[in-house]
Amino acid sequence: MYEIEISDIRKLSEIVKEKYDYDFTNYAISSFKRRIKRVLELYKFKSIAILIDKIKEDSVFFEEFVSEITVNVTEMFRDPSFWRELRDHIIPNILLNHDNISIWHAGCSSGEEVFSMAILLREMNMLHKAKIIATDIDKSIVEKAKKGVYSMKSMDLNTKNYIRFQGEQDLKDYYTVENQKIVMDPTLVEGVSYRVHDLVNGGVFNKFDLILCRNVMIYFNQKLQNMVLKKLHESIFKYSYLIIGSKESLIWCDIASKFIVVNNDEKIYKKIKD
């Protein structure tokens, strides 16, 4: 079997960094290696050297490479208990002190999480008060998120999650079926601003009442997690909320002391220090 060496991965990351404005140097090795192996298989490249050459000379290919390297497996209402907590406690809490609510989906992937949020807010009759920004490193996935068109197959799981979330309607009230595809109600996200943004190299661009960055930083090593968390910390108002994936933790991070845990099961943190 063809073995991908760490030195090959370093070489690839260096070339990407030199030629494009992306830095994969501090991605978690185990998953990054699997993603590269996947790209080699997908394009039938026999070695990483061939992949490196292709990246060097073909910037269109590089965009495809970024799409394939990033993980875009997501669900609507993933972890339904989290969404219930958000609806029943966190958002009401924010709206106690604010007339409006600003939300950033950092690493929005194909947009299922954004639709989940929009449905939740509409059911609370608060969607018109929300300013939502959704970003991802991958240009093509941001386009997909904007369109809100999903496979029939994926709706089975999404529907189960929505039922566990105990929403007020049926999930099917929020989409139509066209040509065997699920087309989400576009009015849900008409106010959402979708942008391409790289958490690693991108700057701090705004401040929010609520940031969702779930299962994004698991693809980074601890050094990079610390760097990104610093940016997320700067992007949240004091006493506002950061939410990460259910099996991520801030405990080991440099910035831990500037947050308190609001809900440990759902990984909801509140910023308490600037």
């Binding site: 079997m1 699997r34 497996v73 698991i218």
Partner: protein, 200 residues
């Protein structure tokens, strides 16, 4: 005297299992010596959307507490870990766990292949892989990776398995070191425990 011979120290044991493995796992966990030192990392197929309950069910009879690790948590001696629901569990250089929500492998997340392959890369010949009853072929490739890196491979005796697809697939792909019943696996782990103690 035991029939199992060990000539080095081991850094981890990974156990993979799927349909029909629960009873076997519980039996192994209930028979572990209290001071068993080598970390045990379990990757068991489980319901994807039930986050709670599985650790508790396994813990009832387990000698040691079982933890579902967080992303980038350190692997420690004497601990037993279980891959959390709906995440792949991998091992990183530097002995930390790494989680991922990548595509399913063999219709499974967590995938046993991913845990075994990443562990074999980090621990090389100092790894022991155990594959139990199961209804698909996840884990067979991972066992080969362990063998290729010089680690020890064990599979549950297919005749004893409720569903033998998983161990049989591993036996087909790799020259497995030991094909054992659950009782023999327990004997193996006890012999290993004695061996590790003599090293210290």
């Amino acid at each position: 005297m035991t029939k199992y011979k060990f000539d080095r120290t081991y850094k981890a044991i990974v156990i993979g299992g799927s349909a029909g493995s629960f009873q076997g796992i519980v039996k192994i966990l209930s028979a572990l010596p209290v001071d068993f030192k080598i970390p045990i990392i379990m990757c068991l197929h489980r319901l994807k959307h039930v986050r709670n309950g599985f650790v508790e069910a396994l813990s009832i009879k387990s000698i040691k507490p079982i933890e579902e690790p967080y992303d980038k948590q350190n692997i420690k001696f004497g601990k037993v870990y279980l891959a959390p629901a709906n995440y792949h569990l991998a091992i990183e250089l530097g002995n930390t766990f790494s989680l991922s929500t990548e595509e399913m492998n063999q219709n499974s997340r967590p995938s046993i292949d991913i845990t075994l392959d990443s562990a074999s890369y980090v621990f090389k010949e100092k790894l022991i892989g155990i594959l139990l009853s199961g209804a698909n072929k996840d884990g067979a490739w991972g066992m080969k990776r362990i063998k290729d890196h010089g680690g020890i491979t064990l599979v549950q005796e297919p005749k004893e398995c409720m569903i033998d697809t998983m161990p049989s697939a591993a036996i087909e792909q790799t020259k497995i070191d030991h094909i054992l019943t659950i009782n023999e696996i327990i004997e193996f782990l006890n012999a290993l425990h004695v061996h590790i103690k003599t090293l210290n």
